[in-house]
Subunit: 471 residues, 2 copies
Amino acid sequence: MKQTKYGDLVQYIENDIMTGILQPGHKLLSITRLSEHFAVSKNTVIRALHLLESRDKIEARPKSGFFVKHQVHREQPTAPSFHNIEPSRVLVPELFQDIMLRGSAFDIMPNDVLPPPHALMCKLHRNINKAIRTQATQRAMYYDEPLGLYALREELREHYSSAGVSISSTDVCITSGCQHALFLGLTATCVKGNNVVIESPGFYGVVQLLEELGLNAIELPSHSVSGVDINVLRETLDKYKITACVVSPAFATPSGSCMSEDNKKALIQLANKNDFAIIEDDIYGDLGFTSRPKPIKAFDTEERVILCSSFSKTLSRDLRIGWVMGARWQSKIKKLKLVSNLACSQAMQAALARFMQDGDYKRHLAYKRGTLLVQRDQLVQALNKYWKGELKFTIPNGGLTVWLELDSAINTGDLYNAAATQNIIIAPGALFSLAPNFTHFMRLSFNHPTLGNREKAIAKLSSMVFKNLIR
Amino acid sequence: MKQTKYGDLVQYIENDIMTGILQPGHKLLSITRLSEHFAVSKNTVIRALHLLESRDKIEARPKSGFFVKHQVHREQPTAPSFHNIEPSRVLVPELFQDIMLRGSAFDIMPNDVLPPPHALMCKLHRNINKAIRTQATQRAMYYDEPLGLYALREELREHYSSAGVSISSTDVCITSGCQHALFLGLTATCVKGNNVVIESPGFYGVVQLLEELGLNAIELPSHSVSGVDINVLRETLDKYKITACVVSPAFATPSGSCMSEDNKKALIQLANKNDFAIIEDDIYGDLGFTSRPKPIKAFDTEERVILCSSFSKTLSRDLRIGWVMGARWQSKIKKLKLVSNLACSQAMQAALARFMQDGDYKRHLAYKRGTLLVQRDQLVQALNKYWKGELKFTIPNGGLTVWLELDSAINTGDLYNAAATQNIIIAPGALFSLAPNFTHFMRLSFNHPTLGNREKAIAKLSSMVFKNLIR
């Protein structure tokens, strides 16, 4: 994945065209400005522009500059518009449990071969091995500090500082993953019967949590590009008392949407005015292809934003290490962590702290983002190539997933069942909302290369739909 | 720790004398019976008896046989007798959090050197390292099965089968340790405001859990040898509706007490009649020096016993792997695990499954029990040698801890503070009850050799008490 500056620039502009940031007819910056902006030589810029021209992506207009010529323009999936937004008790069908678990693998063919781990992952494994061996002679019978290993909390403080979040290491509490962090956040802020705002479509793990905790859900429509609709939230707050709002502002699953900074600030204002907690699921925050969005927590003025995340999407789910920044609820969260889980693995924490100290996590993220960008385009290209009928989908600028809207006659629950018989796994739209808003939607992931059998799986899915197999 | 059959037999009989199973004047079995019972030759028995005679433990009476001569007779600590047993809201002083955490290290000098890990622990570490590497190429982005790795659950099924518990592997749910198992068990069976019976003295992690879950505690006196008092429980059930009873029947901390099988059966009958759940903390069950007591779950007739345990006391806390057998609440517990924690590390589970499959866990337990028995005697000897004033303590036949009753004028909370300034850590009695029943008690652990600085620490503690430093 080592790239020249020249290749980076080409990819950057192509990405902006593909995701619609640069629209057809849009004029590019001048060669001088591009050279300054990307800190490359004018020659590099000219070489990149010529390649883009030869690929038919841009055109030179004499004495005017370069213009976006062509775009794989995609209609976005329909944003849900709910007529009745009101709190409702949560009941997740038993049937969903298995689908959710399979979907969480983010792999269209979980039984197919995977590429070998790259060198930095191997280094992390060596770190873990070393930490376990070192610790054996020292503290294997000892529990962790209540908040988690200081060295790791300190690294996370530093990491978030560069994303605009100013905290101290005592504001961080290490957890057994992001779901555990969300569990702690909701348990610390809400009691049974409280109303909690969630996004629709949104992460199903939150819906399951609300069910178990006996909390009412208020589903707000979430736009597939800009995320949760602040105006609808404002109206909802006039009608109902809400205790917490769970939101994924950066590359949310399933759509990959991102909230604007204005909306983040507006959300904080609403939380301050109406006295509710914001539980920010930041798990995809580090997976932005062109930039790392500022978390909502960066704009927090009254210690109301509980940020939740983990290493599960960036490194490996099997580390079982995440974190929560509990804001004004931090001491309650610390106590809840102790009684519900006692501690996290110190060896894992020590290995991860070392990985971050050595700069390996930053290097790994750069590599991961580049890989995911390539894989996103593979998935998009496969969809363009093989899908025969109506299809709208998002092309997110980060994260792991694409959200697809099929012909409204298609039931993706049936498609799930038909595909599963061929070892092809999709995440049907019904998982992402309590209401039947997304029965003709599905989520696909670009967490793996859409090549070989995974590419064929896209073609097979299309056949299933258009041979009327699943109507 | 490799021992001859001859040494085993000597140790076994010495242990029975020391713990009071064999009383002074008690006649030993005949040479023939001993030979049959322990499956050793008569010559081995005779050799063992002669050694015990030379150590002044037994005496030969002509034509009568061998009799127990001498016993380090210890008065047992006073069992609590409560006058008012009633449900009460739980409030754990904030001050206790830190003491509990330090105490959980089970080490009188947590900063002192430790012996190196033995070969089997190193083998486990190699298993873990291998599992992480193997998995990296396969399933690092995949979550665990909801109940946990099948291979590990199957090994646990087998393991418990030899302890008299007949279950299938689907009755086992892997957790992030025993505290997590207790959390899941209590959350699945109780709702806020319910009454829960706990032991006094008992494990403080349970008390913290009750507080967080808003449950009322009913503290039942627990005898330092025979555990919870079934008759008092029966009387309590006439007065109050209880939802669950949390009990440690095998080598409970702090006292090391064990329930008799009759009491276990009586408890089951009470649970059946009065419709409550039994939450069995079995974490020390595998650490019996002479036998593995049958869990209460072995006598369960109506799927009411939730067994909780982990590898934390037998292998290492840092594995963060435990288990719960959820009985009739199993599917609820599975769901709760998913939403609160999602999953456990598959690599750790695979490494542990392999460790059990290879017979290494059994070998390790044999080694561990032998080591703990030696260390228990080191601690007892140090107490006999250095303690200057009044002292009653338990000599448990398994587990990790000894429960000590000091002169009633001593406040062990003050002793904790005085000792901590010299890096000596005790667990003061106040931690083990909500009522001030045990302010002159403390818990010490024989999890580490009472040699070197740890032996000196016992002498220092005695000095602190008798120089009136902490009165």
